[in-house]
């Protein structure tokens, strides 16, 4: 019934298959490299099939894994806290902006919107957070600067709230519900699509963030998994001094090249494993965000 051209359909399949392979191949290389014997890597380089299979890298990381476990803990904590706080703040700001009764609504809208157009830049932001708030080397430095809430998400949520029938809010308030009650029991339950989308994007943003850690954190105990990876890549010495109990002699024994890749695998694995479950929402989210933005 559809007016397809056979040739074009086949071409699409082949092209998309190749593109999908292109997207996946680097991950295969990464995972394979992490399972390769150190001497094989030195001889043959990283390859798509382990030339000599070995789990040394993972065993090594498992033995000395306290830093990795802590970095994981930091990442999970900032992701959960940041997403929850960020979502609450976004909803609390978006809801009054969606109500026409709110006094001074338009100036406040502009106040929110202008942040999407102009920013002070990195250096002034750094000075504000270090001179006025002394966030340096605290866990809050990983949560607060830049990531917690942004004008775009507020606008997105406000637009969604506005699309809900006004009569619902009015009837709830006739029944005696206050504003908080209305928001919590009427508006939010009806807004799960937009909350899920923004929540998912916040989660990904926090999980992947390395910039705040690089700017505000120098204490290795507060490194998130991304910062740990970052540090290891920039400085192989860091592995031998911070990830091993007996520095110095450790360098020769440790499977440096495969350990690097193994840590990266550990860093990316949760996302790869969780992706099949949330990819539907992720793709929907891209589509929602695309409408305005």
């Amino acid at each position: 019934m559809r007016n397809d051209s056979r040739g074009l359909t086949w071409f699409s399949h082949i092209a998309m298959f190749l593109f999908a392979a292109f997207c996946l191949i680097p991950f295969v290389l990464l995972i394979s490299a992490s399972f390769t014997n150190q001497s094989a890597i030195v001889a043959n380089g990283y390859s798509f099939l382990p030339s000599e299979f070995s789990t040394d890298a993972y065993r090594y990381l498992f033995d000395r894994g306290s830093d990795i476990a802590r970095a994981y803990g930091v990442t999970v904590w900032i992701t959960v806290a940041g997403t929850l706080i960020g979502l609450s703040m976004t909803a609390l700001l978006a809801y009054p902006l969606s109500r026409s009764e709110t006094p001074h609504r338009n100036p406040i809208m502009f106040f929110v919107f202008f942040t999407m157009l102009f920013n002070g830049g990195l250096v002034p932001t750094y000075l504000v957070y270090t001179q006025f708030f002394e966030l340096k080397n605290t866990i809050w430095a990983l949560i607060v600067p830049g990531l917690l809430m942004n004008g775009f998400y507020v606008m997105l949520m406000r637009t969604f709230f506005q699309s809900l029938p006004k009569a619902l809010i009015e009837s709830a308030q006739l029944d005696g519900a206050g504003e908080y009650r209305t928001l919590w029991s009427i508006v939010l339950p009806l807004s799960t699509p937009v909350i899920a989308t923004i929540g998912l994007f916040l989660t990904i943003m926090y999980w992947n963030d390395w910039q705040n850690g690089m700017i505000y954190i120098t204490n290795p105990e507060l490194f998130s998994i991304q910062n740990l990876l970052n540090r290891i890549m920039q400085d192989v010495q860091f592995i031998s001094t911070n990830l091993s109990s007996n520095a110095g002699s450790a360098m020769e024994q440790m499977p440096t090249d495969s350990v690097k890749m193994a840590i990266a695998v550990i860093g990316v694995l949760p996302i790869l494993l969780a992706y099949p479950f949330f990819q539907k929402y992720f793709i929907k989210g891209i589509m929602i965000g695309a409408v305005k933005g």
């Binding site: 298959f17 593109f19 976004t90 157009l117 002070g120 000075l127 809430m149």
Partner: protein
């Protein structure tokens, strides 16, 4: 009767008390907004005021805000160096390539996706091609390292010997290769994502257009050329203009993490964002980098306004404001 009486009473009320009542009535709505507004004030507006430091000679002993004024010195120094030219050129050229080729690739990808009728395969392709967008730049830098490392990289150890080239290339110290590498990495990460944006727009096209074209005997390729592309034109224009508005900003992670912050690659990998960051972390000049940041904010702001103005003229609905 009582209702009428209260209406009359409320009309008689002086204006000020009515306004006061309005505040009392909607106080919860105003209070609700406080955390969010406070955050924007601290995170976005205070740094805007901090822009003044670009006009000061930064002296950490005196404290940043008590440092002496120097007028435009920071800017004069910045624009006297070749750095200013290099970072501006890189930022703009990369963005131009990303916008032009990126749009074509994403569009092609969306059109091909639209030809795939098997629901499950379609979902599978969509899931895989958006996956790279989800990965942090730190991980991306590991993936690139696995390919390009001089001693152990896949390219030097496997691909080049296949091609009969025995001598490996020191990728991380040869600036001339990086425009290609970074462009490829950027497309790897972003084409799938932006093709979904176009695909969403494609889904909105009424199937009747295609039915009618088919009755007139148009081939599928002709349909794409004469129906799909013209109907997507507004979306393409809008997205392009909005990215033109952001042409002064670069993806900091791409230009900082992927080349592993290698100084030898400055010539082809430094952008305004990496320059500002290096100034802040002490490998550059903080006064000049603050000036570079302000230069970026202001030119960026003007460009966003211009781009939006142009979008408005093309189609009012698609404008940001």
């Amino acid at each position: 009767m009582t209702q009428a009486a209260t209406t009359v009473a409320s009309q008689k009320e002086p204006r000020r008390t009515r306004k006061k009542n309005q505040y009392r009535k909607y106080a919860p709505l105003l209070i609700m907004m406080i955390p969010g507004l406070l955050y924007l004030l601290i995170n976005n507006y205070l740094p805007m005021a901090g822009i003044v430091i670009a006009f000061k000679k930064i002296n950490f002993a005196k404290g940043i805000f008590n440092s002496d004024w120097t007028g435009l010195d920071n800017f004069t120094y910045l624009f006297k160096t070749t750095d200013a030219f290099i970072i501006t050129r890189n930022t703009i050229l990369y963005n131009v390539v990303f916008i032009v080729i990126g749009t074509i690739l994403s569009l092609a990808c969306a059109i091909l996706l639209n030809e795939i009728r098997q629901k499950r395969l379609l979902k599978g392709y969509q899931a895989i091609i958006t996956l790279p967008h989800l990965i942090s730049m730190v991980i991306v830098s590991y993936l690139v390292y696995a390919l390009l490392s001089a001693d152990t990289g896949f390219i030097n150890k496997t691909v080049l010997p296949w091609l009969g080239i025995d001598e490996g290339i020191m990728w991380y110290s040869e600036a001339k290769y990086w425009p290609f590498i970074l462009t490829l990495v950027h497309f790897w990460k972003s084409v799938g994502y932006s093709s979904i944006v176009f695909f969403a727009a494609l889904l909105g096209i009424d199937e009747e257009y295609y039915e009618a074209a088919k009755l007139d005997g148009a081939s599928r390729l002709k349909q794409i050329w004469h129906i799909t592309l013209p109907l997507l034109a507004p979306v393409i224009t809008m997205l392009t203009l909005l990215s033109v508005g952001r042409i002064f900003y670069s993806d900091f992670g791409l230009f900082y993490q992927v080349p592993l912050n290698s100084g030898a690659l400055f010539e082809t990998t430094a952008t305004i964002d990496t320059y500002v960051f290096r100034g802040l972390t002490g490998t550059g000049d903080i006064g000049m980098s603050t000036a570079a940041g302000v230069y970026q904010s202001i030119v960026g702001f003007v460009l966003v306004i211009l781009a939006n103005y142009t979008v408005r003229r093309v189609s009012k609905d698609n404008a940001l404001f």
